[in-house]
Structure formats: C-alpha cells, structure tokens
Amino acid sequence: MKGTVSILEKRDNRSAVKAVVCVAFFGLCFWFWAFLSPGTLRFHENAQFFPYTWTHLREALAYPGGLAVYISEFLVQFFLYAIPAGLVMAGACLLLHRLVWSLSLAACRLDDGSLTAYVLCFIPAFCAWAYMCVFGDTFSGIVSLCMVLACVSIMMKTHVPAVAAAAVAAFMYAAAGPMIVIGMSVYLTAALLRLDRREIAGAATGLLISIALPFIWQHFIQYTLRELMFGIEYCHQPEQYTKAFIVLAACAPLTMILASAVLKTCSRLDSKVLKVVSTIAAVTFVFAGGWIYVIRNCNPQYERIFEYDKMACAQDWDGILEKASSTPVTSLAEGTAVDLALAMKGTLLKDMFRYSQAGPSMLIPDYAAGYVVSLTAGESAFRAGLLNTARHYAFEEYESYPNFKISSRFMKRLAEIDLINGNYEIAERFLIELSHTLFYRKWAKTYLDNPTAITSAPEYARLAACRDSSDYLYSDSSDEDKRTMLRRLAQRSGTWSVAHQYLLAYDLLARDLWSLREDIRLCGFEDGVPVLVQQAVAMFGNAFEDVSDVEKSLVSQEVAASFSDFQEALTEGRAGSWIQSNFGRSYWYYYSRKN
C-alpha cells in the first residue's frame, strides 16, 4: 500500500497511471466492438448511404444537427469493417472522456487533479458505449455531444461574452443540434463553479438561446418541435428517444459536477491512503458498473443475426456452419443463413437436420417476419436464384429504415439484380450513386465503366443463367407460390443446383411427400441421391400404394435398413432420448417428431 501511495503521489507517475487507465479503456472498448459485437456497428453502416457529393453535404447542412450527422455518417462508413469500427468507437468514447475531464478541470481552475475524478470522467464514455449497443440509437448522438463539449471547452478558455455565447449557441444548434442545450448546461455549471459572473451571464444567455432556438426553427423547417428540441437524427426512429440516449445526454453535466466535487475534495484531502482507496473504488465502480451497463444494453440475439448476415454477405459458408455447430441456432434469421450455407456447400440435403429446423419458412422467410430477419432471407433468395424475390426484399430493406435513410448495401444489391436481369439503365442509376462512396466505389466503377463485366463474374453469370423470362404471377408470401417458383427455377437450372436443393428441402421441411415425389422427377442427381431424400423416399411405402421400382431404387440398402431400425424402435416404444440420439439427424425423426 505504501508503495502504491508513493507512486500515485508523484505527478509523473499519476500521468502514467492515467495513461494506463486510458489504454485499458481503449483496449477494452476496441476489443468489444471489433471482436465481441462488430455486427451491431455493421448494421449502422448498412442503414446509411454516404456519398462524397456536395449535394449530400448541402442536404445535411439544411437542418439542425446536420453537420454532426454528416461527420457521423463519414465515420460510420468505416463500421463496415470490424477493426476500423472498433478504433472509431473506442476513439470516440475516449474523446468524450477527455472532454469531460478537461471541462471538470477547467471548472475547478486546475491543470491537473486526482485520479479518482479522472476515472469518474469515464462515466460518459461508458454511457456512449452502451448507447451504441442499443438497436435504434445512432452514432450522431455521440458526435454531437463531442462537438458541443469541445465547443464549451474552447468557450471556457476564451471567456466569451454573452453576445458571443448566444452566437455560438445558435451556430452550434445548427451544427450539432439540440445537444447544445447539454453543452450550455455544462458551461453554466462550470461557470457557477468558477463563480465567474461574465461566464455565468454568457452561459445563461447561451442556454436560453439554445432552448429558444427550436421554437424559432420550427417556422422555417418541416421537422416537428419535439424533433427540434430533442434531436432529429439521434435515433433511427424519429421522436423515439431511448433511455440510453437520455442517460448519455444527462451524464455529461452530472459527471462534470461529480468530478469537480471530487477534484475539490481530493485537493483538500491529506490522507494518501484515502486517495488510493478512492481511486481504486472509482476504478471498480466505473469500470465494473460501466461494463454491466454496456452488457445490459446489448442485444445478443441481434448481434448473432448480424454476424450470420455478415458471413452470408461475405459468402463465408464454413464460418456460418462453424458458428452454428458451436452455438445452437436460435432464430429464424440464423437458421436461414445456416441452410443457405449448407446449400452453397452442396450439403443441405445431407446435413440439414444437424441443425435446428423450423419448417419451410426457414429457407426463405417472408419479408413480413421483419427487416432483421429479412437480412439473411434476402441473401438466401438471391443466392438461390429467386431474383425478383431478392429484389423485393432488397428494396424493402433499402426503403424501410425508419429514419428515411437509404442503404448503400441494398443499393448495391438492387444494382446487382438489375445487372443480372439485364436492366442496365436502372442499375446505372444505383451504380452512379455508389460510385460516390468510399467502399462501394470500386465495385460500382467496374460495372459503370464496363456493363458487360457481369458476364465474367462467375456468381452473377450463374444467377443470370437461370433468369426467368416468363410472366408467371406469384406472391412471395405464399408457401405454395414459393414452392412453384423454386420448381420453375429448378426446371430452368438444368443441372443440379442450389435451387434443386432448396426445392427438395422445401418439400422435406413441409413434410409434403406428395410434392417431394413430384419434385424428385425434376432433379437429375449428379452425385447420387442425397441421404435425406433417400430417407424420405424410404417412407413412400408407408404413404403411397404405388411406389415404383425407380423410386425404390433411389434408396440405398443402408438407408432402407436404417429405416427398418427406426420403425422398429418406434414399435418397441423406445425412449425419446434413445431415438433422438440414434436418429435425431434423420428425416424420419423430423417427420415423426413434429407431425
């Protein structure tokens, strides 16, 4: 203890400890976002379109807080990749901590202060971290807060008069939005703590102006008063402000008051031991409490879906199956990605029942299941070759973000589908837009400069080969129509394909042996009859009276024997657990268990 006290006493060592705490926070935050929860941040990137055009900047500057949104969008584009996403998030949270710390010091007219206060100033950083875990909150809330706190920090250093404070408030309202009210509250608090009349007058004027501005702006802009008062783009859903947002906004002034009080107390404190104890207590309270708060705000279900979605987009089929093997699939969206991965690996009709299956809707869920589910559903429809269904899903995703933003990712998918469908004039529109972005530019330019490049991309060429040119009218929420579309797709595909696997899997999952019997005739099995199909055909004898020799020949002796064992087990009334352990991955088990 004595050694620790002497280390913390010296100013140089105190700086070193602060640096260690900072690095620890940065590392923890980076690790969380880059490795534990990158999907949540990636979804933010998926839900925006950020072109480098004057028009986009001009549009952003046209409403209060637009500059903060613009900066936020610029940074969010890096969320497409986990490492830059982690760096940006950790950097932003650390910046918030540095700003609150510097304001706390300035409020007490100090150059440096106790470690306890320093650690307490991590509270807003943890709040920002937790805020980003909440589905629906946007990064622009953090950017706005950083902007206004930086502005207040400069104001406190320059001792601005009331008139200038009013002008700054007006400017910052336009640039960062109503978060300036928080900034001016911080400024007023600091001025009161410093007992500086000039600053108090300036801060009070700034605060009043900040509060009054929404009432003035509402006459010139279409946003509601509530949006003008609480922020237009801080949350995805207009006017739906989350608890995490309120906590983030409130924590900056409250932390500053707390830190200032601690700074003043610690400066009067003689007991070195007490200082050490308070520092350790602060570290424990802030880091442990902060971590718990972050975890409580996480949505592991969504994170898992986002991760599956990311792997599906990257065509990382092995990654999907590896993850599904290590952690059981718990949602429709995850199951869709797993079935897609199996189909792309060519093992859907062999390994499907290694993973949890929830019926045919798992192959290509309805869009009505929600836009998070549709992330993998759209991917599945696209890879299976149901291009118009994929276009429908992509368009709905592209259009359905509640904050009226459009999505680069789905703009790319729409362009892909239009290119494959030969609708270059429509695709060109999306390609031009995407050519103004950072991460989609290269891809867009390829097809913008050379529309025929689509033929040399194997995946696109595969999908183009099975394009439908007939006028069949279908509903993609109808089970029967889905099957019909898969049937048509399988007919066009000719050779064994993803569509064939989906079609037979659809019949199997629907427990529709009659349709399966029809559909088997469409399929020319290249590498032998898949084992799950054999298992289903083995059941034909129980279901139909007229099983042909050709159908019988599809079932291997091994499968036939196994089916006899299964039937015997049922007849003998074997325990469910025994049947599951011996036949749990068979079609018979799926068919009998849920029928």
């Binding site: 368009f395 509640p402 040119s469 006028d471």
Partner: protein, 462 residues
C-alpha cells in the same frame, strides 16, 4: 451534319409552351462526349442565345424573353458535341414555341418505385416557368404516413384533396380556405376513398374504394402487378358530408374504379371490369370506360350506364378517363389488362374525340414504355403524363401539346436546371401529376396540425 444531335433529354422538334422554363440539355452519351455547344437562332437566322459546357444551361430571364419574342414561331438549335475525336456539328433542330400557355405549375408525388415499403415520399409543387420546387408535405411531417393522390379541381390552387395512410389516416380536403380531415371509411363502403376527381362545381368529389393488392412477376423484365380484389365508385358531397352511391354501379359484382366527371359535370365516367378471383384472373381483368348521367343540382345519377370505350371492341383495358376541360376529348390509359397501367410496358395514352366518337392512339405523348397518370392543363392544350420511357422503372413527367388535329405532338421531359444530374440521381418516381393555376393555398404546419391532431369529420352514407 445530316443527323440530329444525340442529346438528352430529347428535345428535338418538340412544341413547347411560351412560358416554360429553359429546356436545358446535354449529350446523350455522357461517357463519350465531354462538352456541348448550343446556339439558338430565330427563324430569320438571328443568333439569340449561346451556351457551352458540360450541358447547355440557358439563363432563365433571357430564355423567357426569347420565348415571348418568338411565340408561335420556331427556335432553331445548332448543336456541336466534343468527344475524344474532336468537335462534331449536327443537323439543326427546331423547337416550336406555342402561343398556348401552360399553367403555373404541377403538383405530384415523388416516391421510390417499389413494393410495400416506402421511406421518404412527399407531395411537391413545381413552377413550370422556373425550376422551383416546393415541398407541400412529406412523410416526416405526418409521422411516416403514406401520402397520395393529390388532386385539384381543374387546377384551382384553393380546392384540392389528398390522402394520408398509416397512423394518421385521413382524406385531407381544402376548400373555401378551410382544411378538413375526413374519415372516409363507413359501414357501407368497403374501404377508404381513393382516386379522387373533382366535380367542376367544387361541391362533389368522385372517388373509388379499392382493396388493392400486389403480386410479383417471375420475369426479369416485369416487377409486379397491382390489382384490386374488389372496388366500387361513389361521389362525396362536400357540402352535405354524405356519400352518394350510383345505384347502377355501386355494390354490383362488377369492379368499378377511377371515376371522373365530364367538363360540364353532367356525366360521370368510371372504369368497370367483370369480376374475377385475383390474382388468378389478373391477366383476364380488362376495364371498360362507362358513363352515367349525373345531375349536380340534385346529386343524383341516371339509372342506365353507357359504355364509352368497350373492351370487346379494342381488346384493351382502359383506365382513368380524363375528359378535357373544353369538353372535346377523353384521354385514357390503355394496356393489355389490369387496372394499373404503370406496371405495363405496353400502356399508352389513347384519345377519344367526344364529338365524333373516334378513338385513336395519343401519338407523340406515347413511347415504347409505360405511360399513365395523365392529366389536362386547364386550357386543355397541354397534357402531362407519367412515363417510364427512360429506363422502364423510374417514372418521369412529360408534357405534350395537343395539336389542332386532336393528336398529341412529341412530348418533352419536364425541364430541369441540370437534367442529367437531376434525373440520373433522382431515385424517386413522379406520380399522380396534376396542373395548378397558382401557388397552392397550403400551409404545411396547419395541415400537419390537422392531420396529426386526430380530429376527423366522419363521412356519412346516404
């Protein structure tokens, strides 16, 4: 020199109103051509205006002075395009400046062309003599509601209505300087009012009630089919707040939709098809144009319907009868089947001469791709149409002059300051355009209060 310049938009040999905004244009092949040089001369060869650059950008005031001075005459355009191989001069082309003025502006909806979901959409007003566009109301103002079918009474900026769907569902009606939000769903009507058309007196509005659904095509070239599972037509008496139902049409098994009134207000037009089971029979649904006598004094219909345009004669489905305000013509969209011609590439505008009964293709207003959602200017000399001619998906507005022979002359794309950038970057479609004779009497904040406020006038069934 003997080929016309490849320019976009294609403004070669079009007839334009004397008060239209500058028809700026650029090279059609933007990849190959870096510059354009345009000189405008009058019929005597006198050079009037010159523009050069990435696209021709004519100054607004000088353009209008030139149009005023050349009303009824031709303007001659000399165009040269610069490509890698150097400058190339093309054959001159004309724009004929019609003395027929066009109305003050257009109102329309901008919406992404898609399926069920919509992000940002809105109703807008565009001044036709300038490039100015005003947002009337958008989704954000009504908390994500869908806004549609803005319709004025013969371009009267003080009499109009539109619908809001979603959380704050209503039919917004503005008349005699007052706003009303109507709840148009009644026990006897099958749904909310849609597809409005004003009676010339301003007292009545014709509507239909439709159970609209959509299905998808498997083809890469077609996206979807929109159809009604059932529909009816009716008239709303604004003064008495009651629904008037034409006995000959309402409630029958037939599918009636998209009504309108004749120029004198004494004939009620509507589209009618035999019933079917949808979507199974979607391709069999063909709509006739029928009419019923209407007495505006008593608000009563005649009992015998007359078939104006018959499916059996033309083997087409006719949608949206739009009688010209001078009473001479009837403009309709004609497609192979269905009630939503926008989805049909073959859809064209047809014209019926009401004096002679002659029916013919609209001519220059049409293209190889879908045309629909047509309307007349208040002097019945111009028409606006939504067309998918550019790329097959994004509808754009085209204006066309009605020639003395009753056939539309070559239509031209609604001008923009920088048309290439504007239209190629616009990922919204224009729909339901209507002319307006002045700036709309519309205060977005008042409208928002009325819509979000929740107070609704319940429409009564008679």
């Amino acid at each position: 020199m003997d080929e016309l310049p490849p320019i976009w938009p294609d403004y070669t040999d079009v007839t334009i109103p004397v008060n239209i905004a500058p028809l700026n244009f650029g090279p059609a092949e933007w990849r190959d051509c870096s510059k354009i040089d345009v000189t405008i001369s009058d019929e005597s060869g006198r050079r009037l205006l010159h523009s050069a650059g990435a696209h021709a950008d004519f100054p607004l005031r000088r353009w209008h002075r030139i149009l005023d001075a050349n009303a009824g005459k031709d303007l001659i355009f000399s165009v040269a395009l610069k490509s890698e191989s150097g400058w190339k001069t093309y054959k001159q082309f004309c724009m004929h400046v019609s003395v027929d003025e066009i109305d003050f502006g257009l109102t329309y909806r901008l919406i992404p062309p898609g399926y069920q979901s919509f992000g940002h959409m809105g109703l807008y007003e565009r001044e036709l003599s300038t490039f100015r566009q005003r947002t009337l109301i958008d989704t954000r103002m009504v908390e994500s509601g869908c806004i549609n079918c803005h319709t004025e009474n013969r371009g009267d900026p003080g009499t109009f209505c539109f619908h809001i769907r979603g959380r704050h569902s209503a039919t917004f009606l503005h008349r005699n300087h007052e706003d009303f939000c109507l709840n148009t769903k009644t026990d006897s009507t099958k749904g909310f009012f849609v597809y409005p058309y004003w009676h010339p007196s301003g007292r009545y509005v014709a509507y239909s009630t439709n159970a609209t659904r959509q299905s998808f095509y498997s083809s890469a070239d077609k996206m979807l089919e929109v159809y009604d599972e059932h529909s009816d037509v009716l008239v709303y008496d604004v003064e008495k707040n009651v629904v008037i139902r034409p006995e000959a049409a309402f409630g029958s098994e037939m599918f009636e939709t998209k009504p309108s009134f004749s120029a004198d207000g004494r004939t009620f037009y509507y589209c009618v098809s035999r019933p079917g089971v949808l979507p199974r029979d979607a391709k069999e649904m063909r709509y006739n144009i029928c009419s019923l006598p209407f007495d505006p004094e008593t608000g009563t219909f005649g009992s015998v319907a007359d078939t104006v345009l018959a499916v059996s004669v033309y083997d087409k489905s006719f949608i949206s009868a739009r009688p010209s305000y001078d009473g001479k013509y009837l403009m309709v969209a004609a497609c192979d089947y269905g009630t939503f011609p926008l989805c049909h590439e073959e859809s064209d505008i047809w014209v019926m001469n009401l004096a002679t009964g002659e029916v013919y293709d609209g001519g220059g207003i049409n293209s190889d791709r879908a045309e629909s959602m047509h309307n007349w200017s208040t002097n019945s000399k111009w028409a606006v149409v939504s067309s998918r001619r550019e790329d097959g998906l994004y509808t754009r507005l085209y204006l066309a002059h009605m020639g003395a022979d009753g056939v539309f002359e070559k239509s031209f794309l609604l001008p923009q300051k920088n048309p290439w950038t504007y239209y190629h970057r616009l990922i919204n479609s224009y729909n339901v355009p209507d002319f307006t004779t002045g700036r709309l009497e519309f205060d977005a904040r008042d409208a928002r209060k009325a819509i979000v406020g929740g107070e609704r006038v319940q429409v009564l069934a008679r």
